[in-house]
Symmetry: C2
Subunit: 437 residues, 2 copies
């Protein structure tokens, strides 16, 4: 998309993040927010708490022609929290103690000091004075935790991007980001941006290569594909097609979306950013139905996913984790003979689990899941990754599906819950296999 | 730690990762592997699938004095997969078609073509020929998926780091990484490294500021703290202290660890990288005990966590998700009068859930969880975040704990499962509250 836009980079600091033991959520979060504002993100860089490496990252970003840098982390009270100082230096600004900010931080710390009375009050005050030393002339964002945020422009006569300095804890970062966006220097830094729009199509149940072919055929059909920045990716077993375009180019997008709809209508389940989880929750609420699950190989993961959303108690009647045949029989009420005849990993067992869950919990819809998550337990006829998911409603309508998922134990478990969510959506839409005879 | 070590940077490409919708796991994974090899990671950079930005990132890394760059992604068959070409250019090497590699890729694609017969075989072959075009003189790592890996050294007479080029899908990346490490150019690139050791202490149940004080007191007590690179971080409600030191400095580490042990012995639960999940699983297996859960606010998350490990069926008897009072009574067997008298969020209810789970599933240990995950449902006496976790063994020994967790619904749910895992460990160690009268 060859349009001029404001360009930003994100700089995440933290030795524990760089070391790989902790995964960074701030970079992705900031990137999504910048994208929504129509700011183009050129890169996300993660460095340790070493001033030289932080400086090198800032200098390295010079060739990216940035308008904005957003930093995360390194604002704490300890010695290795150096971001404010490095950014001040890089922007050509002296560091000064802000008295008002120092008092603000002291105010915030008072209740904490009374809660942990054996901590040295003087040591804490000294270390937090450090947090009140900021680049001269910076716009200060009032702390949400104990660390303030900063918006730092280059000193008089210097070129370079405006730097938004945010603390690392996600809750503080997110609150201070909202404050940063409202400041005047931020508005000036991103003034050149093109308003972009972003849309998403989500599909389930087809190979990613199909989408590649659809992209080609859209171009052949005359859709102005060069006006669209399209990214496809596989996520939790679903395909996401994200399209970004300048606000004036909506027609090209609509033409593209029409082609996807025509070719993959059955697989397309979301065009409004809604997740399968949102859709299932909304449909259950709207229809006043409740669901109960009896799960073997997913071991509680499907129940956990169904109860993830606030208010889930309105439509989740309950669940049973039934690993052993004994539990399947005694708690869920699956017949011993059925398991003996068909085995625990079978269509019959999945349906019996669905029926048992429905009956035991008094739900309108029952879901039964059984399979071999691995790494052990596979056989030639039922290799690792084999799962059966069955749903049956109280009016007898049912869906039963077998799948063979690749990947690790946790991948098989997650893919299985995704399959169950999609089958639940289909049942709720009336796209079931009919009632059993 | 002022010692000379080989230095590396990691370059992750992918518009979907840069955009923040997909979180990158390859950067952290590679960083951990490099750390284990004693290679110092200077930064992780994420860029989109744009050759200019990838080039800028490579050039920006010049001031880091690197020995090694590891790239992830951008090796696929489509037009926007450009990594091999950009790396070749940057290393001063021409791109050439490798016939053997082309044949290898064709071989791999054959079964796929027969599975999706309507795909155009010719189009696929053409796009995959692209994957066989590599920098001249590069060491080729045979594909695990369809993309090969590469180890590319600077062309004759050029300076700069060796580049390891790996595909983006984690399974392929991980397999080809092992192959890359075995190559001669890789060994040469990291030859200057100092062997480092890394240790981890994990603690539960104390504030992070306590650790800051302990670090200070260790220095006061004469521990050679300058020989240790110590990082502390909060993770899933636990504190991790990671220490990295040159192989000769183990004495300093042992002195530091002794001080942590003396001050925080009760909170310290792991000094060998083991997770609480590993410990609980090992103890249950060793003692031949099984556990059953009845969970309200965590809605299956505790069962899912307990069943996450291969072989969990040996020690997880089962679980019930019991949101409503009705289910607590009818399925778990909690007395109606108990819930009426004490409420569903109470020590009594948690113990009754634990007993019910134990009895229904025939387990030796029962765990009951009840609480208010929010965002709704809180009251003055029982605010959002209030949880009760109770455990009772078949010999009557029990632990009952109340907690008040801050954060979102999902944070409360996750913290609650962590608390339950730690209480289970204590019960299994005999650190319980005794038997109820």
């Amino acid at each position: 998309v060859p349009r001029v836009s404001a360009r930003a980079a994100i700089l995440v600091t933290g030795t524990e993040v760089l070391g790989g033991r902790v995964s960074d959520s701030n970079g992705p979060w900031l990137s999504e927010r910048l994208g929504e504002l129509g700011v183009d993100v050129a890169q996300i860089t993660i460095v340790g708490d070493r001033p030289d490496d932080m400086r090198a990252a800032l200098e390295g970003s010079a060739r990216l022609a940035l308008d904005l840098v957003v930093t995360s982390g390194g604002l704490g009270p300890t010695e290795d929290d150096l971001t404010a100082r490095v950014v001040g230096e890089w922007s050509g600004r002296a560091m000064v103690l802000d008295d008002a900010l120092e008092e603000q931080i002291a105010e915030i710390l008072r209740p904490m000091l009374s809660r942990w009375p054996h901590l040295s009050a003087e040591a804490i005050r000294a270390s937090n004075r450090k947090q009140a030393v900021v680049p001269e002339g910076a716009t200060i964002l009032a702390p949400v935790g104990t660390a303030p945020g900063l918006v730092v422009t280059p000193a008089e006569g210097r070129a370079g991007p405006t730097v938004v300095v945010l603390p690392g804890p996600p809750r503080e970062l997110q609150a201070l980001w909202l404050a940063a966006v409202e400041t005047e220097p931020f508005a000036r830094a991103v003034a050149g941006r093109t308003p972009y729009e972003q849309r998403m199509l989500r599909l389930y149940g087809l190979p990613e290569s199909e989408i590649a072919e659809t992209l080609c055929s859209a171009a052949d059909a005359g859709v102005a594909m060069d006006e669209l920045e399209i990214t496809t990716c596989l996520r939790r077993g679903e395909i996401e097609i994200v399209t970004r375009f300048a606000a004036g180019d909506a027609a090209a997008y609509e033409a593209f979306a029409a082609i996807v709809r025509a070719r993959h209508g059955a697989a397309l389940f979301s065009d409004d950013f809604s997740l399968i989880d949102d859709q299932v929750a909304a449909m259950l609420l709207e229809k006043g139905l409740s669901v109960a699950v009896a799960e073997s190989c997913t071991g509680g993961l499907l129940a956990a996913r169904l109860t993830e959303r606030p208010g889930a108690s309105a439509y989740v009647a309950g669940g049973v984790v039934a690993y052993s045949d004994h539990v399947k029989e005694s708690i869920v009420g699956v017949a011993h003979e059925l398991l003996a005849q068909h085995g625990a990993v079978s269509a019959e067992a999945a349906l019996a689990l669905a029926d048992g869950a429905r009956a035991r919990f008094g739900a309108e819809v029952g879901i039964g899941v059984t399979g071999i998550a691995g790494p052990g337990g596979g056989s030639e006829g039922k290799p690792v990754g084999t799962v059966w998911v069955a749903l049956r409603a109280d009016d007898g309508r049912q869906i039963v599906r077998r799948a063979l998922f690749p990947g690790s134990r946790s991948e098989v478990r997650e893919r299985t819950t995704t399959l169950a969510m999609h089958l639940l959506r289909r049942l709720l839409l009336g796209e079931d296999d009919g009632a059993a005879v």
